[in-house]
Symmetry: C2
Subunit: 554 residues, 2 copies
């Protein structure tokens, strides 16, 4: 094996970074290592001062990310038992949108003594939801002005994205805003640290930075939000042309080589978003193939030859997943999170005891009980909005609903209904694509939930599609490694890299006609509830959020 | 105290009979005893044969009831430490409708060797729900013929009542039907055993036997249901005039005196229904006063000077609660049952552990946590139909719903929302009365739930009414004892008996204006959901029941 070219992929998640050493020839994952972020997610108080953060804030400390380069990369190489000299390229993927304010040289403002105590000087993690007010105004003005980019995002941009977060800084801490020379995604910032040059990758800029048809939103539009915001793009965002995915954006600097133990000068690829980069790892690089990355939430990723405006999608971006194709992203904001909420908050002791006796976790125990049921036997339908709806309604304030509860309803009944609800949610997304003319021929699955056969079978039956499962435990890092291989010139493009290095088990779950027919009938109920509560028939979910907020603190 | 006149009241419940010895002068409860029915509720299989019973069946063995006379009455007298010779009267109340087929002399068919193996020969407990098909046809024909009695029952009679149960016997076991000379309520059958004469009390006949304006349904109408059913009333039901409540229907026979140890010849009063008889025990004997008997379900009882047709009530019966007044009954089919379902099926281990550590039950622990919340803080609204809706929709096939679920929703949030849902259900009933012109000025509470201060305060706030609580642990038996006192001539009427013997604590819970105003807003949501799912806007609840039934058995 000695002398075979290797690449390193690094996946920066919400709580940790994972480095994987991969063989270029066949994608074999030779070694890996994880580094947990010491500060994890900064949600309650700022570590530097103890200052209490407002609700919905979520920050990160960029120094935590650098530690991944210094510790996880050498550890992965050691774990692989290979010679670091064989590594020919490195690439990373990152959560998004997770932007941070920096000086012109890339120094994070939060690293400066004078801004250490200022919350807005830190990186805003994707799940920082405190810029909703800004997002609302961004959407309202864009709609009013009929900005051409708005339909590319299903008619609504998210409070999680760059512009809402930047506008929040401007309005809440103008000194930080003035001091920041650059507003850069964590993905691109890490690449900057690796190769010494600022870049912006096409994926994050397209999906989270409102970059469409070769431009960010206009100064004129931005001035309409706030006069002081007019120069945001020109002064703090724009730079060299966007870097296509798989492009070599530079070479590993001496400093980064010292951090990582990798050879100086090897290829550094454009960064990527964690969900999107998983597609080639599952050999999903062509039109008609949808990848579902199913974990706490689900991200739906697919490519098409042409653009279409799909209502309620998260984004359509040219080259956003595969260069040359339009990449589409949709999502469900709560999936595994809902099941976890249920197990933690609504499952009585006897199930915990039975699971412990059997030596399995409660999810496994409940899944097996739920799996024994016939479709419809529990008499329940649920809406999967316990964490809001990301697609197709794009409404964070929606909430979960269960109907059909009886005195005989058991925990496994509700558990199954919740699984089914998320499967129905996926079906609404597939149908929205197909109504917009984008055929969804094949379904691929990555993410932790693929290990649960009951969930998988329900998804196959509800969607009437066979499920192909990624055959890697570290899809994002493997996908990054594949982009590193392309950037290093080992493959002509990501299609070739995916064919050689990607890993998928096809047709692991196939739909059953009888169950699918029964699900068709339950799905009709889901759709009617979905439209009634999600499209204004009954605004109770929004009203309940207001009641919640109006209740005085005790 | 020696020589003071006493009475005995016996409350026949679903699982046991309770006898109480009461002092006539002031209602003091001097002693009591309970006898559990050995056969409890016969739901799964017939004890005589092991035959499996179909779904929704619920039978009782009348011999179990007689045991109450033989054991609980002497035990109560012993517990009171009084001389049985001082007892001047006895009265009973019973679940309803719980009819049984008998020979002309009162012998239950199930006591005959030849019918021992026939399920239809046994008493059908109130919660026997297997005659729904018959009830549906009874209602359809009554509606078609515009039977004058139908509106008195809110436009729909229940499958729990006498006629549906009798028709089921006729259709499913005509031999039992032919062999039965009388079809008699358990209430009246026990009185028959006490005084040796068959009677029918005005309360059970009115509420459960469709006796209105001096008559049962006509032979012509009955023939429309089934030719063979035409003679049901004339042959198996009708007898002497109905006995008004508090009337002396006879004297204790020598045999019954031997069973009970009470003096032969003392007054035996007309029987009563358990919920209704509780009203005078709480001093509820006048118009404008509603009694809520709150336990596993809630029964709403009130009297008025004139009759009104209140949509979805269980019944309006002249003299049904208090002679001379129109008595109204409404109900919620799941209240404490829903809270019990929740605690058994949806509360995670840490609450059970915390309650055990504190030495309280889980209901108490959850109630206290729920009680700390501001109105609306949990952001939830529920429909309280987990056991169907008895009033005002009269639809057993409706089911429970929760909306507003979030990843932050906790067990105490849902618990509180369920309590609130039942309070909203009561408010819909109060409003239905008031829309029909029957004012509900005062609310009285009896039943086990009155011990829960959180539930009580929520009801006060939701209904904007002070709550008066019965001050007796054995309301039905006390109410029966009061009727025994009237029957024995110790008081001229039930009003006088209630004033002297009844027990109530007034204004124990008062509504808070701020909370009531917040509940008004939540209630608007409840009403909209109630009407949408209960009045045909979305028929999903019925469809889910069908899906449930269609699912093949595994």
């Amino acid at each position: 094996m000695a002398g075979e070219p290797l690449v390193v992929g690094i996946d920066f998640g919400t709580l940790s970074g994972r480095a994987v050493v991969v063989r270029v020839r066949d994608g074999a994952e030779l070694g890996s290592a994880v580094h947990e972020f010491p500060h994890a997610v900064i949600e309650r108080e700022l570590p530097a001062t103890g200052e209490r953060l407002p609700a919905d804030w979520a920050l990160q400390e960029p120094e935590d990310w650098l530690e991944v380069l210094r510790t996880a990369v050498p550890a992965a190489v050691a774990d692989a038992g290979v010679d670091a000299a064989e590594v020919i390229g490195i690439a990373i993927d990152f959560t998004a949108s997770t932007p941070l304010p920096t000086l012109a040289d890339g120094t994070p403002l939060c690293a400066l003594e004078e801004f250490r105590a200022r919350p807005h000087a830190y990186a805003k993690l994707w799940k920082h939801h405190a810029a909703q007010e800004q997002a609302d105004r961004i959407n309202a003005l864009a709609e009013e002005r009929e900005e051409a980019w708005l339909p590319r995002y299903g008619g609504r941009i998210s409070s999680e994205w760059e512009f809402a977060k930047a506008l929040q800084i401007l309005e809440e801490d103008p000194e930080v805003y003035d001091a920041m020379d650059r507003f850069v995604e964590g993905a691109d910032w890490i690449v900057w640290q690796l190769c010494g040059a600022e870049t912006r990758n096409a994926c994050t800029a397209g999906y989270k930075g409102i970059f469409q048809d070769g431009a960010f939103p206009s100064a004129d539009y931005l001035a309409g939000l706030d006069e002081r915001f007019a120069g945001f793009v020109a002064e703090k965002l724009e730079g060299p042309p966007l870097a296509p995915l798989g492009a070599r954006v530079g070479s590993l600097t001496a400093q980064a080589a010292a951090w990582t133990g990798l050879p100086e000068g090897i290829a550094v690829a454009a960064a990527n978003v964690d969900a999107h980069v998983t597609a080639p790892a599952a050999q999903v690089t062509g039109p008609g193939q949808m990848l579902m990355v199913m974990g706490t939430s689900t991200c739906h990723i697919m490519s098409a030859d042409s653009v279409a405006e799909v209502p309620g999608m998260c984004g359509a971006v040219l080259g956003g997943i595969v260069p040359g194709l339009w990449g589409f992203e949709a999502g469900q904001s709560g999936v595994g999170d809902i099941f976890a909420w249920f197990v933690d908050n609504a499952v009585p002791p006897r199930y915990h005891e039975a699971a412990a006796e059997r030596g399995v976790d409660v999810h496994t125990h409940l899944s097996e009980l739920a799996g024994e049921q016939q479709v419809g036997a529990h008499g329940l339908v649920a809406l999967d909005w316990n964490n809001g709806n990301r697609s197709v309604l794009v409404d964070h304030l929606l909430s979960g609903l269960i109907v059909g509860l009886k005195l005989s309803t058991r925990a496994e009944d509700i558990y199954r209904a919740l699984i089914e609800a998320t499967a129905f949610g996926t079906r609404t997304i597939i149908e929205a694509f197909e109504r917009a003319g984008i055929e969804v021929r094949e379904l691929f699955v990555a993410g932790g939930l693929l290990k649960n056969p009951v969930i998988m079978q329900i998804y196959a039956d509800v969607t009437r599609r066979a499920l192909h499962l990624i055959d890697s435990e570290q899809g994002p890092a493997l996908g990054s490694a594949m982009h590193a291989a392309v950037a290093a010139g080992a493959y002509p493009d990501i299609h070739a890299a995916a064919a050689a290095m990607g890993k998928v088990r096809r047709d692991v779950y196939r739909p059953d006609e009888d169950r699918a027919a029964r699900y068709d009938r339950l799905y009709e109920h889901y759709v009617r509830l979905h439209d009634h509560f999600g499209r204004g028939g009954d605004d109770v979910m929004h009203a309940l959020r207001r009641a919640d907020q109006e209740a005085p603190v005790l």
